[in-house]
């Protein structure tokens, strides 16, 4: 057997074992789960070094016109992502041992983590969209289970539902996108070479002409893959529909609302799933199918705009939040916006670069926040902290490194990737660049605010006076992530991501004039200047304050999006409910069911009449039926 299958089998086996039996024995469950994560990481290392090759795919579904394999793509893109997922995943597993030590149902928690690892590696490795979609739903499921882990808490259960519903809505669009993709391309493969061929085929002149006749479309329904007869509109539609998947999973505006609420889950989950990996799956998916996205200029523009808007929108909200995890959640939204913007601007490599560095420092920030929360006995409000910096020094220093890396201070990891994205954005459109710079300023501002309020100043509550540092099982992962956050920007791009996009036939995509050399008129000094300004301004405002000097309700209330949804949804729900009720009582119940019921009840009555022993009737029906059948077949024509 190919060793690479361990990437999927190990976490799957662990999750099944925990589901069936081990959830009652937490220590065994932890062993199974952490063990499987270690196996995953080691296999990923072997894969990344090339020691383990991609296994032969096996046929999963084969019907005429559509063959779906379960197979793996192991190219630099997936290898890099795989290392991030399994590496951060393993660290979070280890951290969770300490964090969840006192939770009675931690067996279930680790089962959820294993389901997540299984699904997430599946997404990363998937060699076709159907398989990707399947695992996509798998991470959705594990995310639902883990957000609602403390299901006895009303808010957690509701947050889990919200996440699930938002993702369902988006996945519907994604599914349409996949179907359209199959229809146009005649394949669901995401193999880079096949996608390159599709790109080349689709770029031919007749492709972009408008759809000539609907008759051609009709034949296409039966014979997918007739790529030449499609209009640019259809391709744009496909790109937008595929992007819908990313909107849901990566929580882009307007479906971003689920991610901040998802912080109801345990903090390690927030770190792994809702910051470092799962929410980045949308970005990864976009990078995976990038040649297809590049077919539609309009689609790319929409992607860039959505990312750009989400970036600054979420950063603004983060400025006025008080819950440590919510600030980080909005920061995640903002950074995801950055990545999506990078894809839209034509820089998937920049997006993957930022995804990687972001995974390090955002996982670090969340885990460190978890350590703080743990130290303060489940206190999450930053205004009830203060003065922690010398009481829990290890947590403080790692958190500070994460904060500096996220803000984009040179030479930490975030600086390089953010700078690269800004360069790409500049070449695509100056507007995107400036929004990005302002977002960087805001990021530095709210992160400094968080550190200043939570770690400096006088302790504001009793709990903050006597915190206790977390055990090594929690701090060691913090240190490892902190090291990665410092050095992550130096080698990742050159060794991993760049080679992917250069090995690949992306040259085709780049002849539209986008150059990746930084234009002479911008320099890293501009955004860095804004970042330093943000840090200083925020430090000036927030060090040693007892309450927030800024008070901007519209930001604190998150632009009233939740209220808007709630109200609109209530009205919409009423209307829908009324329509459905009418349909149910008159059409379904009245016409179809009653009709069918009368018909069948009549037949039932007929049978029931003779049930008391009048067997003759059965025999009569039997013989009569035979007679009529013979008559119809032989003579009635």
């Amino acid at each position: 057997m190919d060793l690479a299958w361990f990437l999927l089998l190990a976490p799957l086996a662990a999750s099944i074992a925990i589901l069936l039996n081990l959830h009652r024995k937490p220590n065994y469950a932890i062993g199974a789960s952490v063990g499987s994560a270690s196996v995953c990481f080691l296999t990923a290392l072997a894969v990344a070094t090339g020691a383990v090759k991609a296994p032969t795919p096996f046929e999963w579904i084969s019907v005429p016109g559509l063959t779906v394999d379960i197979g793996m793509i192991l190219d630099p893109l997936s290898k890099g992502m795989l290392l991030v997922v399994t590496g951060v995943g393993l660290l979070v597993h280890i951290f969770s041992i300490g964090y969840m030590a006192h939770d009675p149902s931690r067996g279930r928690f680790f089962g959820g983590l294993s389901i997540f690892m299984f699904s997430m590696t599946g997404i990363v490795l998937a060699d076709n969209l159907i398989m990707l979609f399947l695992f996509w739903e798998g991470v959705g499921l594990s995310s639902y289970l883990l957000i609602g882990f403390w299901y006895e808490k009303e808010s957690a259960a509701q947050a889990a539902n919200k996440a699930f519903v938002c993702n369902r809505i988006a996945d519907f669009g994604f599914m349409l996108g996949i179907i359209t993709f199959w229809w146009i391309m005649g394949t669901v493969s995401v193999d880079p070479q096949i996608l390159g061929q599709c790109y080349a085929k689709a770029s031919m002149p007749q492709f972009s002409s408008t759809l000539q006749e609907w008759g051609a479309a009709q034949t296409l329904i039966l014979h997918p893959g007739g790529i030449s007869a499609h209009s640019a509109e259809l391709v744009t539609l496909m790109v937008v529909a595929l992007f819908c998947g990313c909107i849901g999973k990566s929580a882009m505006f307007p479906l971003h609302v689920w991610l901040p609420d998802a912080m109801e889950g345990p903090t390690p989950v927030s770190a792994l799933i809702h910051a470092a990996t799962m929410v980045a799956a949308g970005v990864y998916m976009l990078c995976r199918i990038y040649p297809i996205l590049a077919l539609s200029q309009a689609g790319m523009f929409l992607i860039a705009c959505t990312g750009c808007f989400t970036a600054i929108f979420a950063a603004l909200i983060a400025v006025q939040q008080n819950d440590i995890k919510r600030i980080l959640a909005y920061s995640t939204l903002s950074q995801l916006g950055y990545m999506v913007m990078a894809v839209g601007c034509g820089g998937p490599d920049a997006a993957m670069f930022h995804l990687t560095t972001h995974a390090f420092f955002k996982a670090l920030l969340f885990l460190a926040a978890g350590s703080v929360i743990h130290a303060l006995h489940e206190e999450q409000d930053i205004w009830k902290m203060g003065g922690l910096w010398n009481k829990i020094p290890l947590t403080f220093w790692t958190f500070a490194i994460g904060m500096i890396a996220l803000s984009g201070v040179p030479p930490f990891a975030g600086f390089f990737s953010k700078d690269y994205i800004l360069t790409v954005a500049y070449t695509y459109g100056h507007g995107f660049y400036w929004v990005g710079v302002v977002t960087a300023f805001l990021t530095a501002f709210y992160m400094t605010r968080l550190v200043a309020v939570a770690f400096f100043g006088p302790p504001r509550t009793d709990a903050a006076k006597h915190p206790h540092e977390s055990p090594p099982v929690m701090t060691v992962p913090l240190v490892i992530l902190a090291v990665l956050s410092v050095i992550g920007g130096w080698g990742v791009y050159e060794f991993g991501i760049q080679s992917y996009y250069h090995n690949w036939s992306l040259d085709v995509l780049r002849d539209d004039g986008i150059s990746y050399q930084a234009p002479a008129e911008i320099s890293s000094a501009v955004p860095s200047g804004f970042v330093f300004f943000g840090i200083l301004l925020s430090a000036f405002l927030y060090v040693n304050t007892a309450s927030d000097p800024l008070n901007i309700p519209v930001l604190a209330r998150k632009f009233y999006i939740d209220e808007f949804y709630d109200n609109v949804l209530v009205v919409l729900q009423q209307i829908c409910a009324n329509i459905v009720a009418w349909f149910d009582s008159w059409i379904l119940e009245g016409l179809i069911l009653r009709g069918a019921a009368y018909l069948s009840a009549g037949l039932g009555e007929l049978l029931r009449l003779f049930q008391t022993g009048s067997l003759q009737t059965y025999a009569y029906i039997f013989t009569l039926g035979g007679g009529i059948l013979i008559y119809i077949t032989l003579f009635a024509h």
Partner: protein, 522 residues
Amino acid sequence: MLSSAYVPYLAPEMLLTVWAMLLLLADAFLSLTPRAMAALSLAGILSATLLTLGFNTTPLLYWGGLCSWDGAAKFYHVFFLAVAALVTWMADDVQKPVRSGASEFIILPLFTTAGLMLLSSANDFMLLFVALELVTISFYILVAYQRRSVIALEAGVKYLILGALSSAFLVMGVAYIFGLTGTTLFTSTTPGVDSIANHFHNDFPVGVAFGLLLVLTGIGFKIAMVPFHSWAPDVYEGAPNSITAFLSVGSKAGGLIMLIRVVLGVFDHSTAAAIWIPALSIGAILSLILGNLAAIPQRNLKRLLGYSSIGHSGFILVAIIAASATLTGTAYTQSPNDLTGQVAVAAYLVTYLLATFTAFIVLAVLERRLPGLEIHHLAGLSQRSPLLAAAFALSLISMAGVPPMSGFIAKFYVVLVAWNKGLYTLLGFTIFAAVAALYYYLGPIKTMYWSEPLDEAPIRVERTTRHVLVILMILLVLTGFWAQSISILVHNAVIGKGVPAASAVAVNKEPRRKQRGIADSE
């Protein structure tokens, strides 16, 4: 070709029969517990299975031409043995109340299975009849086994009399075919029919057509095709659960392989197809409609499954019609991955086996507390026993054909083959029936999960039952999820270019008469 050297193919049937007789003797002289009896019986089934699996699938005739061996025969042999194993296990382990003279209840299925296996390789109308009677007569006893129950007795009597009636039809049909062609061998029937046809202006002889339709009537009874279905709900309700499952899966599959052998093996040329395709189409449509609609108002769960079983026959009949070589259409190339009607039938039966046994095991466990189980008894089952509720829900969802359950794949195959052969009218009814069926399959699920339990007491499920249920559930999901697994299972078995007679049939010299009937009205 007709050499006794091929007798080994008969060995599994012989083994089962001899083993069953030995067990009957042992029961008379030794005092064996039902458990020991079941274990011995299972051992017999297991050895027969191993024996069968050892055979290859090269088509050939044996036993003086009375039997034919091919991929289909092997597949159905194993299928029936699997059914028998489940039935035997259920009889002993799940339904403890059926205890009076329990050994016969465990031994008789062995005879039934031997009969079913013989059916699946029969190449002669007389052997077909004898095998069928072996099956039916042992069923008469099994159905009425709980002889203190009025419902069981009523079911037994109904099954006996209607079964006898259907046998009469069948034997009369065979007589007609024999009288006109002078042979009962499948292999020589087709040339016989051809030679008569040459005397009658190349028309299909009406006498043979009459005989064929009578045979179809007899088979229609076995598979509960409307209008020969009337026994099904009553008998399903009255028989012990394991026997209901046996009837519903084993006996039905027996009827279907019979039908495949007769219509696809002997009568698959254009003039004969003009007779049986319309007849089966009518039967299929009626079964689809009546089976699925009449299930809606049912309260009793076994009756509900009885009607649902009628509906399933309709689905399978569509696949059999689509398997006819006389229908052209966008046939796919003759690669080993062909999806043909026969593959669809086999796939459907496998998924149906999984779902039906899951359902009846759950019902058997529940009926030990509540005889005459109705839907409202299921209220809150998910709280009383999550495992039973989940198993029953999965099996119903699978029967309804909801993806990604294994039943979906089966229905998908049926729709696909019907579409490929251009059977649009049948396709319309199929889809209508599939949608209508959702309603009554989801009803019990709703009751299990969203109704308050009448009785809070948890239901304890024994260890073995639990394990079997879990395995069946995993298979239900797995075969649906990894659709290819069913194809792999079924392909080698059925594609093995079954029915050696079919090759002889292919040469049909007459000018193609325009076919009529529902099947090709498009």
